[in-house]
Amino acid sequence: MNEILEALVKYAAILAFMLGVVAPVMVWVERRGMALIQDRRGPNRVGPFGLLQPLADAFKFIFKEEIIPAQADKVLYLAAPALALVPALTTFTVVPFGPTFNYAGKEIKLVVIDSDIGALMFLALAGLGVYSLICAGYGSYNKYSLLGSLRASAQLISYELSMGFAILAILVSTASFNLLDVIDYQNSMWNIVYQPLGFLVFLVTAFAETNRVPFDLPESESELVAGFNTEYGAMKFALFFMGEYVNMTTLSLLLAVLYLGGWQLYPGWTPPEGIVGAIIGVLITLAKVIFMMWLFVWVRFTLPRFRYDQLMKLGWKVLLPLSITNLVIVTILVNKGIL
């Protein structure tokens, strides 16, 4: 019972952090960052530097009128935004965000579920995101929504494979599915050095998995209005939005864990004992996550969008072979005792 309680506390903390801090901050960062890159002003009316803009957005979403299209399938239509958020809010449970420390004679791991099959769980739960898109597209009774949702789910499935192979390569060298072991393994050197190819694949698929530019075809406004969420407004739209940011954060966190040594300042660095060390570790992880998040924003406003066939070609004919190549190379190296 105690374990469950501990897990719940950890989950609540991280959930609060994600929804209360990351999502609003990211809204602000994204819009200000866009302004910065595109040499504009960005939101600057609400609060200093527009810092309170997310709050204003939240109010707007909450008080906006809820509209449900008359011919929509209400169950699916309403389930979709929730389904978008749920997998997003469960995937990070298996990703460690800080070093293990002792508190009151008890070992506390800074991961919600310390599972033997953490990485597999992550892949499994991430795969559920498709259903949100399908429900949204099918339930909206809208051509654009349906097309967008089909595109999105095809894209998700295509790129999930490559991502799975990239993660698998890491797990092969670690010889464990537990992500804590992955961080321990990087004591000698971070995986980004060992597996630059895998890192590249993972990075690209991370962009695709979050439906962000340059892979935001499902919601490309120029051809599909807004894709699967065309018919969504107010809080429902906000949920999709939040889901996207939570996904981004989780993937950034996973990226940091898999390739950048998690909480390690440099390869082999161990945090000091106790809560202080744990906090330093969490902060270092956070720094890496913030860097990755900035990368997401940066890319979004720098690169143009792919065409759909190019997207599929990239997924199946470039990334998948690359990731398999990476896996084969890593397996051979591990087998030869080099890695």
Binding site: I4, D116, I117, L120, M121, L123, C135, L146, S153
Partner: protein, 164 residues
């Protein structure tokens, strides 16, 4: 203790209810989505009997891949709702129900004779991996070939150009 019992009954009833929806709902898309819930519930039940790997694979493979494939095909073929509900041919219906009833009866009869030795054992991933890659290595490789054959076969069958 109680918690796990509650979890079992909760998800078991979910599984049964949505399984009924699967076979009763006229809309194939909804049927498939109900199937997702059934399978997800089963995955949770797997967790309670210390089979987390199977649970993860169930979600990863069935809900994450196979059922999405179903949905794609349904949408690709633009399958409409069934105009009349399934139970329209009485002869066939009753035949089916009687058959299935018999089947259940016989299997239950069969099950009573099964001897069960209760024992608790920890199934670590390592044990499963060893069993999979050592004792069943040949089957594992054969499965790989099966999947390859399925991929090739599916591609050929589905892309065959219609003649005439």
């Amino acid at each position: 203790m109680m918690l796990e019992t509650v979890i079992f009954y909760l998800f078991a009833s979910l599984a049964v209810i949505f399984a009924l929806v699967v076979i009763l709902h006229p809309d194939p898309v909804k049927a498939t989505l109900s199937m997702v819930i059934t399978l997800f519930s089963l995955a949770v039940i797997y967790l309670t009997i210390k089979a987390p790997l199977i649970a993860a694979l169930q979600i990863l493979l069935y809900t994450g891949a196979i059922l999405v494939l179903f949905l794609f095909v349904i949408m690709l073929l633009n399958i409409q709702r069934e105009i009349s509900l399934p139970f329209s041919k009485p002869v066939q219906l009753w035949g089916s129900i009687v058959s299935v009833g018999f089947l259940i009866g016989i299997i239950t009869n069969f099950a009573i004779k099964i001897k069960i030795e209760e024992s608790v054992k920890n199934y670590s991933l390592v044990l499963i991996a060893e069993s999979l890659f050592k004792e069943n290595a040949l089957s594992f490789i054969a499965t790989g070939f099966l999947l390859l054959a399925a991929v090739v076969g599916a591609t050929i069958i589905a892309t065959k150009v219609k003649r005439g």
